[in-house]
């Protein structure tokens, strides 16, 4: 098969289909990471550059809970999710909320500054070594014929879908969820109705961080953690969010799956290294031609 003069390897339909399926499992995690980012954007209108770094910190938390206390990475969710919420709440209240006045680039820079501090803190405290959580069920799984799926991948998919659904219900049916939606839609109006906007901002940031903490738990058995891992994920999360539409939940889910599948097929055809170009390419194309994304209404 030829593409732009580069001869691509040709694969059977089964192989491509298998890649697509493992892409769905990967994409579910991307969706969960992006969900937090899109929530923060939708409510606070800030692009949180520190999102990937927060994921990295949560992955370290899961790793140390496992290596020091022997806590199963999935069970660790009960600790890291509330922990992530509190950390995000405090971060928004004490740092980002204070500096986030003026132009949006300045806020983006503030979150970049935060991410640099946290990433280098991790480098300083934990060194650049890659660390892996090892669980006994690492390589067990089911054979789907075209592709072999391990239990951690299934847990990631199911977990992501459940958390997305839970968050959707939370936003829909609880008072806090309604307040968050009110603030997202009409900040001043919400304030006039007696909603504490600063509190809701911090709550949203907290929930966004709790999402990456949950994602960290689901990622732990299959992904190594190292200080720069956040940078990889933040680019992917940006791509997912921009593709799905900034602030859209459905968009994050669909975007995550699309990016996961594209990445896997890209890796299949272009190789492990060059395959990653598909993500940057989608990111650039969407930003240029449809910055509102697939499901976004406003910029």
């Amino acid at each position: 098969m030829d593409f732009l003069g580069i001869s691509l390897p040709s694969y059977s339909l089964e192989t491509v289909f298998g890649s697509a399926i493992s892409g769905v499992f990967l994409g579910a995690i991307y969706a969960l990471v992006a969900l937090g980012l899109t929530l923060i954007y939708g409510v606070l209108h800030i692009i949180n550059f520190a999102h990937g770094t927060l994921l990295m910190l949560a992955m370290y938390a899961v790793f140390f809970l496992w290596s020091v206390f022997g806590v199963d990475p999935y069970l660790a969710m009960l600790i890291v999710v509330p922990g992530g919420y509190l950390f995000g709440y405090a971060l928004q209240r004490s740092v980002i909320g204070r500096t986030s006045h003026g132009r949006d680039e300045i806020i983006l820079l503030t979150t970049l500054g935060v991410s640099i501090v946290l990433e280098n803190f991790a480098l300083f405290a934990f060194s650049a070594n890659e660390r892996n959580v090892q669980v006994p069920y690492d390589f067990d799984g089911i054979d789907l014929g075209v592709v072999y799926i391990v239990w951690p991948q299934i847990a990631a998919l199911v977990g992501s879908l459940l958390i997305t659904a839970a968050l959707w219900c939370f936003m829909r049916f609880t008072d806090t969820g309604k307040a968050i939606r009110a603030v997202a839609k009409e900040r001043q109006g919400a304030r006039l109705m007696g909603i504490n906007v600063e509190h809701i901002f911090a709550v949203s940031f907290g929930i966004g961080t709790a999402c990456v903490a949950a994602a960290a738990s689901l990622l732990a058995p299959t992904y190594a953690v190292f200080p720069q891992v956040g940078y990889l994920f933040v680019l992917i999360a940006f791509t997912v969010v921009v593709l799905g539409g900034m602030g859209s939940f459905v968009g994050a889910l669909v975007g995550g799956l699309v990016i996961g599948v594209t990445e896997q097929i890209g890796r299949l055809y272009l190789g492990e290294s060059l395959g990653l170009i598909t993500i940057s390419a989608i990111f650039i194309l969407i930003l240029l031609f449809r910055p509102t994304g697939l499901f976004g209404q406003r910029l």
């Binding site: 692009i47 640099i116 991790a122 480098l123 300083f124 290294s273 990111f283 031609f289």
Partner: protein, 348 residues
Amino acid sequence: MSMLTTMSTGNMQRIGWAVLIGALLAAPFAIHSGRWMEFIELTLFAALLGQGWNILGGYGGQYSFGHALFFGTAAYLQALLQYKLGWSPWLTLWIAIGGSVAVAAFVGFLSFRYGLRGSYFALVTLAFAEAFHVLSRSLVSVTEGGRGVQLPLNQDPEQALATFQFTFAGPFLSEAGYYYTILIFLLIGFAVTGWLNHSRFGAQLQAVREDEDAASALGIDPFRVKMSAICLSAGVTSLAGIYYVQKFLFVDPGIAYGPGKSVEALFAAIIGGVGTVLGPLLGSAFIHIVGEFAKETIGAMLGDRPGVDLILFGIILVLMLAYMPRGLVGLVELLWRKLITKRGGGNA
């Protein structure tokens, strides 16, 4: 009275510049410690990166998060054309500048044509830098991939100038050759930003930064102005890439297109003061002094581990954005004005 004050301020500025440039030119004669010269050289290098960013970000208000794109493209062209084709570095440097400007024109055309502003422009530049990062790592037959490009070291003093390598260039140049290279490049950066302060184009660029719609209502074409700014910015940034390759004789995907150089440029310009001629140098000097200090104190206390300096830089960046958005230059101006009004008040 006010005329007198501004005039004296202008003269003071001119004298200040003369002293600064004189001191920088004389530094190799006064400082004989190799470690200190290296320190100043790296400060000037970061200042040059910051100055390149400053032209587009500070004067044009277009915040790029991927300025490594222009640094890395120049560095790779400078290294590869020498390594693969054996061309003279004095020829390749023009191609490196040209290539970097061409990439800038391409990215600028796409971004500004489709009206990307603010954070969206920042993200698209980041994405382009990442795309080039992946490409430079993957296209092994062209770029040597993750191994990087290592230029041969010239050990013949006769060939020092021809190879643009000063390590074995005789008693004076081996000490100061690279220092003067980066100093000349930085002075070019100063000249460009100084020109932006006083020229018609600079005024147009700053008008676009303040309010694009108002600027175009006044007959300025924002697209054309921003295109010129990004090309100029890339041109200055490319000089840093050329210096880097000639000095270290090495480049790899992480050095060229990783986030490190983009962040270094941002730090210098924003901490120093965006949209000012002196800001990037001031910012770069400040963070290098803080970094060195951190290494001496915290590093000595906790063992030499990486990351301490960047933690401090990040904290300084966030504090600056929160409390001193005009950077160190803003602070200096504030103190200066207080001094002037005190003196002026006394005279009146």
